[in-house]
Symmetry: C2
């Protein structure tokens, strides 16, 4: 393969043979193991910690408490959003599972055993579990560690034109309103989090192997947290088994492992178990939303008004880029031509694990997309218009691009009506509606749910993103060796997306060489240019662009070297894949391989041309890219049990140019499964004492093969006009777009039974209760 198209993933050679190297596969001579003692309480004061017995364990090498870290100034770690997070609790514990002590031992069993030997006295406090009561006068103040903090309020934030929005609502014929909960869910990657920290007291160098989506950002964070100079820290993210936002933050145990290595003088491994991952690492969503949509009587949508109560848990986790949900607001009008929008968000602390972070999508686009798509369906119901028809009346048309939406972002390109029509044609919409009609007569509840979504990905220029601290530029460095083989170094880190294949294809495409001749290096900060990592579907939009430009620069440098080699004017050379030839004399030319050899010494280089054959680019995206899609979900609901069966799922995606369609489709498959999971079963629940009820895969349900239908995919290709390859990104699209299709389908099925809305997850119990008119968690509306 020398360019774009379907090819097997290069990395699968090791994965299918079980020869990947994940953090837990890293074994270093003399390596120690560790375990974390966690709080059983959601909210409690720590009155004493006695580690004497644990320290006496013959295989224990170190026991760390908050007091030990405090001596080093490491008991708290700063977060990107100017909050701080406890590394090991010193004063209080603020959520169940919070880190209280850290044991380093010769093996993992001993470390775990020693946890039971640590004696902690807790004085339980009332927990704040329900975000809706977090601001009440009589609730305890969770973050009394913050100076002067007298309540659980984090921020009030508003965006949009409130008066224009209000005017449009006043003039509207119809307004639909709905309270919705996008519940707390967990990314639940296959591989849990983990770290191996190896501090060398002599050189001062810290090497950290971590399950990381963002090795460079983690290096900077570790430098800020530990005080070790950034250039002495090396973060290696080896093979990573899924991320989905879960591996964007650094976690307290990472810092403990570093300190453990400093204290013991040996490498220290820490690998999370499943419960720890589910109970304490980055959650997402937890948005209590009230949406209002104004429309004319003929279904022309006018304006949107949204209020959100955002539950951030006990801390803003380290890598949450901003406490303000700017992304949420900017895409809240979805794929429609609305005239105004207004959004007000209040953030609160609760006694839950730190949440409020990425899980496809980091910019809260998943919540926004769900909200607008539910409101559109509610409006269709109110107007008695077919939901597909209502969307056709309001979707942006291709003539409108580039389109500056009411919230200020500039959508790049697309053909939305064509996508929706393709989805309807693929599913056989008319026949399905007829079937639905027929079966309703037999008391069979078929539901057809449509969702249309626009993702904003790639993390564009700084002015578009209220990101604290970093711009969104990523580097790519391409080097051809003397034998003509290429090594590409990229800043983004794969967690299974197939970067080693996709990025090799980009180089192959630009240079006309074989993908086998391109090695893709990533995941090692000592080895790769700086960049922000993989999240927000940004790898292809940003690093893919950097790679493309770097390869073009190599091609151009090759032209200059070829001109010296062939002794002709550079302007007389023409490019055919893999070769510069003299125009009009195709036999006179030099292959890239020959040029690479010459660049290492066989030719006197033109003035101003450095030796070797290489090129690099730090790509600063001029804008976000906007992939979009039209999804249709078909469900059958059993009103007696509340059981939902997903019968079909049609997904039409337009992510621009597809470099490797198989990989793109794999990403879509995963995202659709994600969406079905969130819509139907995933929920990180808490009881009134703040106990986490999602601490295992017995309790926190994720979809399996039996829960999902065969996928029916179709595609459009509208290249992004400002991306060098025309690619837009795909990673999060289906996760963003699919939940609304499923929920809309279930509500469509239940419409004859008078059900207007029910909150996710639509478990059998939730559906059954909704049919009974007693919706579960129906009390979540914001007053």
């Amino acid at each position: 393969m020398t360019g774009f198209g379907r090819m097997p993933r290069k990395e699968d050679a090791r994965f299918v043979r079980g020869r990947g190297t994940f953090v837990d596969d890293v074994r270093l001579p003399g390596m120690l193991h560790s375990a974390v003692l966690r709080s059983p309480y959601a909210h409690a004061r720590i009155t004493s910690i006695d580690t004497t017995a644990a320290e006496a364990h013959p295989k224990v090498r170190a026991v760390l408490t908050g007091a030990d870290l405090e001596e080093r100034g490491l008991a708290w770690m700063p977060t990107l959003s100017h909050d701080r997070q406890a590394v090991l609790a010193t004063d209080k514990v603020r959520y169940q599972g919070q880190e209280v002590a850290f044991v380093v031992a010769e093996d993992r069993y001993s470390a775990r055993d020693a946890l039971a030997l640590i004696d902690v006295d807790y004085e339980p406090l009332d927990p704040v579990v329900d975000a809706r009561t977090a601001l009440d006068a009589d609730v305890p103040v969770i973050r009394d560690d913050l100076e002067g903090k007298r309540d659980n309020h984090i921020f009030d934030w508003e965006a949009g034109d409130a008066s224009a929005t209000d005017l449009l609502f006043e003039s509207a014929d119809v307004v639909v309103a709905q309270d919705m909960l996008y519940p707390r869910v967990h990314p639940a990657p296959l591989e849990t989090c983990g770290v191996v920290a190896d501090h060398d007291a002599v050189t001062g160098k810290l090497t950290v192997w971590a399950t990381s989506q963002a090795p460079h950002a983690h290096r900077t964070l570790l430098a800020l947290v530990t005080g070790i100079a950034e250039h002495r820290i090396r973060v290696i993210s080896p093979d990573v088994g899924g991320g989905f936002g879960n591996k964007v933050p650094i976690y307290p145990a990472y810092v403990c492992a570093v300190v453990g290595s400093m204290v013991t003088g040996a490498p220290v491994k820490w690998v999370e178990d499943r419960s720890e991952n589910l109970m304490t690492t980055a959650f997402a969503r937890d948005y209590h939303m009230r949406g209002e949509l104004a429309s004319t009587s003929d279904g022309t949508m006018l304006a949107l008004r949204v209020r959100v109560l955002a539950d951030h848990g006990a801390f803003n986790c380290t890598a949450q880029p901003s406490k303000y949900p700017a992304g949420f607001f900017h895409v809240v009008t979805g794929s429609y031509d609305l005239r105004a929008a207004y959004c007000a968000v209040t953030g609160v602390f609760t006694n839950k694990a730190p949440g409020g972070v990425a899980y496809a999508c980091s910019f809260r686009i998943a919540e926004a997309s769900f909200l607008i798509e539910r409101l559109v369906d509610l409006l269709a119901g109110e107007l008695g218009v077919d939901p597909a028809e209502l969307r056709f009346r309001n979707l942006l048309t291709s003539e409108q691009f580039p389109y500056v939406c009411a919230t200020g972002w500039e959508y790049d390109s697309g053909d939305y009506p064509k996508a929706l029509q393709l989805a309807l044609d693929t599913v056989g919409y008319t026949e399905l509606r007829a079937e639905q009609e027929r079966r309703r007569a037999d008391d069979e509840y078929l539901g057809i749910g449509i969702s249309f979504f626009t993702e904003a990905v790639g993390a564009g220029p700084r002015k578009h993103m209220d990101i604290v601290g970093f711009g969104m530029a990523d580097g790519a460095e391409l080097r051809l060796h003397p034998t003509g083989k290429a090594v590409l170094r990229i800043s983004v880190q794969t967690q299974g997306q197939g970067h080693e294949t996709t990025f090799a294809q980009i180089v192959a495409h630009e240079l006309g060489i074989h993908t086998d001749d391109v090695e893709v290096v990533h995941g090692d900060t000592d080895n790769t240019p700086f960049g922000l990592g993989t999240y927000g579907s940004r790898s292809t939009p940003v690093s893919g662009a950097a790679t493309s430009v770097a390869a073009q620069r190599v091609r151009e440098k090759a032209r200059l070297i070829a001109s010296a080699l062939l002794e002709v004017d550079p302007d007389d050379l023409e490019w055919t894949p893999g070769r510069w030839s003299v125009r009009g004399a195709p036999d006179s030319g030099a292959s890239l391989k020959e040029i690479a050899r010459a660049a290492h010494g066989d030719v006197d280089l033109p003035d101003g041309v450095d030796g070797h054959l290489d090129g690099s680019c730090v790509y600063n995206p001029p804008n976000l890219t906007f992939p979009y899609g039209a999804y249709i979900c078909v469900v059958e609901v059993d009103p007696g049990t509340g059981q939902v069966k997903v019968r079909r799922f049609v997904a039409v995606d337009d992510c621009g140019v597809r470099i490797n369609p198989s990989i793109v489709e794999g990403q879509i498959h995963g995202g659709l499964a994600d969406g079905i999971g969130m819509a139907l079963m995933e929920l990180m629940a808490f009881d009134t004492d703040g106990n986490c009820l999602g601490g295992s895969f017995m309790d926190y349900l994720v979809p399996t093969a039996v829960d999902v239908p065969p996928w029916e995919l179709a595609e459009l290709v509208t290249p992004s006009p400002h991306h060098p390859l025309g690619a837009k990104g795909i990673g999060e699209c289906a996760t963003v777009g699919s939940p609304a299709a499923v929920v809309n389908a279930v509500m469509d099925a239940l419409a004859p039974l008078g059900v207007r809305h029910a909150d996710m997850p639509l478990t059998p119990a939730a559906v059954w209760c909704a049919i009974q008119g007693r919706p579960l968690r129906a009390d979540l509306a914001i007053e």
Copy 2:
């Protein structure tokens, strides 16, 4: 420290605490160990090899023979000079110690034990030991593996203007001629050679930890030898305990370790013992030279004529860049203004280990410098002129630079007479001569030896170097992290020269930041730009220049980013160390740290400026640099025992700008000791059966602290006009310059006894025999 000057070496923090990581410190999970079975004969046919018993050893995992390698096409490896070298002998063994079989076992002891279980039948052949008889009609043909080879002749090569030289000789008043042997010596680094090879059958990736002076060149060589694609090979050269040319080639056991790893599926370590290092790895010199120097009667030197018989051993080793001694010729006129020179060299194969390679200096400058300096002293004796005075009459003057010598190279800069005068003043030449006179009257033999040398280093542009395959460009990449800390990646590899300090000082000097804030990365091909490695004193001349230019590019990029940050025109900014400020308003400005932060996202970059703060350079030297020096050695000789005592050694070096004078002086100290060793004791001898008589430090003597005097150093600084820092390189200078000073001193001491010349090493036996008029090895002249 923020620039040039004396500072402790950064790397010594780990070395003085024994925390360096050398190849033998590399321990990998599941790693196997290995040993090489070597030939006891210098020349023999192999009739059979039986490995059955070795394979049955319970801890042996693999036994490789030449036949096994032949199946893989790996029995021979190509060399840079278009020869080939046996990896494991298939047909014959051609020197004592040649590799015959390779055992991989679970531990080193078992691997060694199993060697004794391998049964090899040899049919001994007559060895060719004396290069002077290698071309005789009746000697065996050593390299009968080469098609059509009917003798032991490798090449005849001549350079210079023979007729102009002959004319000058005919018109000369005086001609001195001398046969000299520069004997076979060994670099004898503190750390022997070694390798850990780890081949991953799944990914196809080969990682090799090697004691390497040239990791990138070794990667290319390993790719050419093994057929593994270059971009799948990673060569890591960790801390290296001395090189001196010994670690430029790759050795047969390296290839065996790679194959061993492929066969066993485990990493394989091979570490040489001292005897293996001394007997089989890269030797140097072994030049039988006849020099003739023509002069007017007033001591104006006119022309030089040289014939050389070069003993290359049984193979040209892998990394010998060229079989032709171009460097030898180009500096053969030394530091003097000669009108013509002619040189003819014949290379021959002998039954000795592969030689003919680098040992300070790779370009045969050591041999050339020794030759001319001996001839100058002989001429002084012939004319009855003081050797210092004769040199003053012929040394280049500072007005003559840039000076194109008779052999065509352009010397860059210097003040030679001043250097010699400084040396004479430092040693107190006049008083010493008076003392010598006095003591001769008491039959005490004080000798004063002068040498003047010009080194050609840095490995200049391709047109100056007949180097097969590679140009001499080296890369440097400098990156400032968001926190302003810098990482410099360089292509050259330290073997103890203090690169981590010197190169940090170059960056600090250019950027005005602290050396603590600069991490220097090298020795890992996955991690550093391509370059040819450290030899020929080229690190500072080439990579130092690349670093300087890369840092200047960072500074310039910082200016453009600062202009955006400060919203002023770039032309209105002025540089003070570490900071760009608005001209005339020094308080308005930005530190490099602030600019680095901004470059990662806080500022909208100017058009055409990529994000991040980095810069790189591949430096293609426009010329060689020419450090030089004047050395004076004072010895006392006991004519009764032949014992030579070095009483004083004055060294005046001009290597241009000194980045870290302490490191420069350390290099000089080492080189002076080297020179005393070669002059007085080092000799790799062979008996008539081809048995190597230098297989341990009991037999191959190297100088220790008791053999060397306190050094008396003085310096001149004439910056190289074409090097961005004015530096010229120092690594090999003293090794090149000092042997002639020692030998000249001994000959000066013995002059009253009628001794005109004796060959190195001037052991007590050699000196005593010379005094008796029966010089040892006096029969080495070329007919």
